[in-house]
């Protein structure tokens, strides 16, 4: 027995492959947070006054708030004065590159190494990338091609300059600056991120993606992503994240806002692989993120798919506000916690419109000393005649020191609603492992296969390019290649 437990422990401690530091010259502001810092960030980004005012309102509100403690995660108090709130690669800070040719070759090489080539001819056909490093966007690919269709895909800073009216209209329209402690902090100090706008009737012909990378030590990353799909528009958006190995924890507090109008559809996929800390729980990213989508129109649909394998602590609840009649919200999640990782993640589905539907499929995998919590809320408002929800929460335990926890909340104010909830907890058994090994599989392949089978329902929701990466991340060879 002990031998197979040892084996599971070893497997749970897989090496983090993106942990290298790139020696890039940076221009950072001193650590600490004050109104002056907020003004400085805004000035560096050459922002209009209305945006600075909005940031300051957020900052002043943040000063009145307390850090939430209800999540089932434990970490020492964060000293917000020790965080660097803005850091930019020097080459980008001094002279903003206008095209890919002007991007520092060192930066391009770093993205190559991460498996995110930014040279368009080398990119998998059909994926446009916005690359965000520390606090700034380094490059955005395929912009001209998308512009021909009226699709706007650029960094958030650029959107503020080029499309101020659009940004002003939608910024904070889904996640107000007063929303929660971390979202409010983000609203005060956010640096960059991506902006996508899909005009009426346009089906975005390629996957849009943002690759987030934290490189500098002690730097927090506070990015915002805003995606708007007008009537009948469709977009599939992907997001990937990595960071170097460092002994000290780093904060990532992002906001994602999605808005879908009548018959529009937004599919948002995340493969989150921030540095999780070492096998003793030292270092790693605190990933405190607010993601919310508003199904504003009839028949609109927002799908969240997330594969969360990184971060020391994950605190995020991608949610859907189902306002439009017949609108649909979906949440598919795989969260893996190994070593000393902690995750408290789930979703909120808020049904307001008539005949709104939501689906929640959550797969939590815990290994080592990992603690994995699903926390979800399904709310059916009085107005949501005929609303339906289906929830499924499964937990898989690997080894004997990890934990899985489930907190589903349900609040129904309309008796015509239909809700279903299924849940299970299972353990990768010695029996399953031995069975696979008796058929010639290595223990590593056996665990991968079992985990992959467990997460299959979620992985199949990912776009192809991402599914492959996600399966590798779960330590898996390609399932479903046959038949």
């Amino acid at each position: 027995m002990s031998s197979s437990n040892r084996l599971l422990d070893e497997l749970a401690q897989q090496e983090y492959k993106h942990g290298f530091v790139t020696p890039i010259e940076s221009e950072a502001i001193p650590a600490g947070l004050s109104e002056d810092v907020v003004r400085l960030i805004s000035r560096k980004k050459e922002e209009p006054d209305w945006l600075l005012e909005w940031r300051l309102k957020a900052y002043r509100h943040w000063l009145t708030m307390e850090e939430p403690t209800w999540a089932k995660v434990h970490y020492p108090a964060i000293d917000y004065q020790k965080i660097v709130y803005y850091s930019s690669p020097k080459s980008v800070a001094e002279n903003r590159p206008k095209s890919l040719d002007e991007v520092d070759p060192e930066l391009l090489a770093m993205y190559e190494k991460l498996g995110v080539p930014l040279k368009e001819r080398e990119i998998l056909a059909g994926v446009a990338v916005d690359a965000v490093l520390d606090s700034v966007s380094v490059a955005t690919t395929f912009r001209e091609k998308l512009q021909e269709l009226g699709v706007i895909f650029c960094s958030f800073s650029e959107a503020v300059r080029a499309y101020p009216d659009l940004v002003r209209k939608y910024l904070g329209s889904v996640v107000p600056y007063t929303d929660n402690f971390f979202a409010t902090l983000n609203s005060a100090v956010f640096s960059d991120g991506s902006f996508c706008f899909i005009p009426k009737g346009v089906r975005c012909p390629m996957e849009l993606s943002t690759y987030f990378r934290i490189n500098q030590a002690d730097t927090g990353q506070f990015e915002r992503t805003l995606i708007v799909a007008e009537e009948g528009a469709y977009v599939s958006y992907l997001e990937g994240c990595t960071a170097p190995k460092r002994d000290r924890n780093q904060l990532h507090a992002a906001i994602v806002e999605l808005v879908a109008f009548d018959d529009a559809q937004i599919k948002y996929s995340t493969v989150q692989n921030w540095y999780p800390g070492d096998k003793d729980g030292k270092g790693g990213i605190y990933n405190f993120v607010t993601k919310r989508g508003k199904c504003a129109g009839r028949n609109s649909k927002i799908s969240w798919t997330q594969v969360e394998t990184g971060s020391a602590i994950t605190w995020k609840y991608p949610s859907c506000l189902l306002l439009g009649d017949h609108s649909v919200g979906e949440f598919y999640s795989v969260a893996l916690t190994a070593n000393f990782q902690q995750a408290d993640t789930g979703t909120k589905m808020i049904h307001v419109g008539k005949n709104t539907r939501s689906t929640i499929v959550s797969k939590g995998i815990s290994a080592g000393h990992g603690q994995n919590t699903y926390r979800g809320a399904v709310k059916i408002a009085r107005s949501a005649e005929g609303a339906r929800n289906y929830s499924q929460c499964d937990s898989l335990l690997i080894g004997e020191k990890c934990g899985a926890h489930t907190f589903p909340y349900i609040e129904v104010k309309n008796s015509s609603a239909t809700l279903e909830h299924e849940a299970s907890t299972s353990r990768i058994g010695e029996d399953q492992l031995f069975y696979c090994m008796q058929r010639g599989l290595s223990p590593e392949d056996a665990v991968s296969m079992i985990v992959n089978g467990f997460a299959k329902r979620v992985l199949k929701e990912l776009p192809m390019e991402f599914a492959v990466e996600a399966q590798k991340l779960l330590g898996v060879s390609l399932e479903g290649a046959v038949g």
């Binding site: 058929r439 599989l441 296969m449 079992i450 290649a481 046959v482």
Partner: protein
């Protein structure tokens, strides 16, 4: 006499957790192509022997040795034994939800082929081989796409074991109570599948409580196990005799007849 494929010498095994002794000196040799049956009452150590041969964790080998093709079998990891051609048909096949039977088989087959210095089978070649072998056990296509043993009936699980055996082409197959939980029709299908896999290049150790299975899979040699020792060895007629007289018949006089290596045929 042909050199045995499997040679077990004075094998003594106890449960790792509590030191409880299960096998108290097993001697057994199986030649290439031979089918041996291992019978015995509940708790006599039949399944333990199967598990130890396959390398299941949780047992301590306290004495003796096992030679497989002249090599020290007990020094190999479970997956190495499998790749070297040892196959265990489980008494209780395990479910692996979400992993399709087809994918599982292909991964296993390619792991085994790689070890044997063969190239991986491509999807087309694999599927045609699978089609052919699935017919052996009358396995329908839809079952190949389901999760490994997920929601299978007892009979389906056992047929799936024989299908895996057919695909992996082992040199030594250990069938651990493959007849348990089968109705008579399922038993016939499973036995026919096993018989089709008999060959001069494949040896089998068929573990069972009942003679019933052995009228379908006719063994060359029958051993009777009691209290962790082989107490009687004979030809196929020994199984019939046991069926008639019960295990109690072996009784006290059994220990006197020292286990003999089976005669080569």
């Amino acid at each position: 006499m042909k050199k045995p494929l499997l040679e077990i010498k004075d094998l003594r095994v106890s449960i790792a957790e509590d030191g409880h002794r299960i096998l108290n000196g097993i001697d057994l040799a199986i030649g290439p192509g031979e089918v041996h049956a291992l019978m015995g009452p509940n708790g006599s150590g039949k399944s333990t022997l199967a598990h130890v041969l396959a390398g299941r964790p949780g047992y301590d080998v306290t004495a003796g040795q096992v030679l497989y093709d002249g090599k020290d079998l007990l020094a190999l990891k479970p997956e190495e034994r499998a790749r070297e051609g040892i196959f265990l048909a489980f008494q209780y096949p395990v479910e692996i939800p979400g992993v399709s039977n087809t994918y599982f088989l292909r991964t296993a087959l390619n792991a085994v082929r790689k070890h044997r210095g063969l190239s991986e089978l491509d999807a087309m070649d694999f599927l045609s081989l699978l089609d052919e072998k699935a017919k052996l056990v009358e396995m329908e296509e839809r079952m190949l796409e389901r999760g490994v043993n997920e929601g299978f009936s007892g009979g389906e699980k056992k047929r799936n074991e024989v299908l895996q055996m057919a695909m992996l082409d082992p040199r030594l197959a250990v069938l651990d109570e493959t007849d348990s939980g089968l109705d008579i029709d399922a038993l016939r299908v499973v036995a026919a599948g096993v018989n089709a896999l008999r060959s001069p290049e494949r040896s089998m150790l068929v573990i069972t409580h009942y003679q019933r299975l052995l009228s379908y899979i006719v063994p060359d040699v029958v051993h009777v196990l009691a209290d962790g020792r082989i107490v009687k060895t004979g030809g196929k007629e020994l199984a019939l005799e046991l069926e008639e007289k019960g295990y109690a018949w072996i009784g006290s006089g059994a220990n006197a007849s020292a286990p003999e290596a089976p005669a080569a045929r």
